[in-house]
């Protein structure tokens, strides 16, 4: 009964490839997020969706495209992968009715070679 799940947990791929990371939450939350933790361990917001609509896009390259088929799912597709995309990507979710706490998935470690 995992609250926020991500697949895959590890992803190793070559430069130039296209890959997707999937995220699902069973908390009944309306808002979902993608964060990136880089090699210096900084956690930074990338995108946020509320009820399938994009509400935050933090100057992320166009090669990154989030997709929310329904409010329980938020997937991240990355085109033409670059070495600098290597990082841990975390999905998170939250309520929108005055609650700020976000609940995170276990992360996907992406390694681009």
């Amino acid at each position: 009964d995992t609250a926020v799940s991500q697949t895959p947990k590890y992803l190793v791929t070559q430069m130039g490839n296209d890959k997707s990371i999937k995220c699902e939450q069973n908390l009944g939350h309306d808002t979902m997020y993608w964060y990136k933790q880089d090699s210096k361990k900084f956690l930074k917001i990338m995108f946020s969706y509320n009820n399938k609509e994009l509400i935050i896009n933090e100057t992320v390259p166009n090669r990154f495209s989030p997709k929310s088929p329904d409010k329980a799912h938020l997937n991240l597709h990355i085109n033409s992968l670059e070495l600098g995309d290597s990082a841990v990507y975390f999905c998170a979710s939250s309520r929108t009715d005055g609650y700020y706490e976000q609940y995170f998935g276990p992360g996907t470690r992406l390694t681009v070679t």
Binding site: V4, D30, T31, Y33, K41, F42, L43, K44, I45, S48, N50, I56, E58, F90, A92, S94, R95, T96, D97, G98, Y99, Y100, E101, Q102, Y103, F104, G105, P106, G107
Partner: protein, 112 residues
């Protein structure tokens, strides 16, 4: 331009003693403050939070203090336990369901 800083990258505390983790911020628009704990290979786990209208919030062994004038946030853990060994992040928000701006993290090690 790091808006949220945790100036101690690491902290070592003996079991049973108090752990104090600090967080400083520059943007006065932040109005909600959270602490997360992170174990290796896991996602951050929410610990405790405080809104800007309060200066203290307590939950069991964890207490968060907010000093708005100094733009300073701290987390006290007492007594510290070995299971508290993890990386602690402060995270700040400017609105409901808004993005969280994370601090740089402090690695806490609780020794026997």
């Amino acid at each position: 331009d790091q808006q949220v800083k945790q100036n101690s990258p690491s902290l070592s505390v003996q079991e049973g003693r108090i752990s104090i983790l600090n967080c400083d911020y520059t943007n006065s628009m932040f109005d909600y403050f959270l602490w997360y704990k992170k174990y290796p290979a896991e996602g951050p786990t929410f610990l405790i939070s405080i809104s800007s209208i309060k200066d203290k919030n307590e939950d069991g062994r964890f207490t968060v203090f907010l000093n708005k004038s100094a733009k300073h946030l701290s987390l006290h853990i007492v007594p510290s336990q070995p299971g508290d060994s993890a990386v602690y992040f402060c995270a700040l928000s400017t609105g409901t369901a808004s993005k969280l701006t994370f601090g740089t993290g402090t690695r806490l090690q609780v020794t026997l």
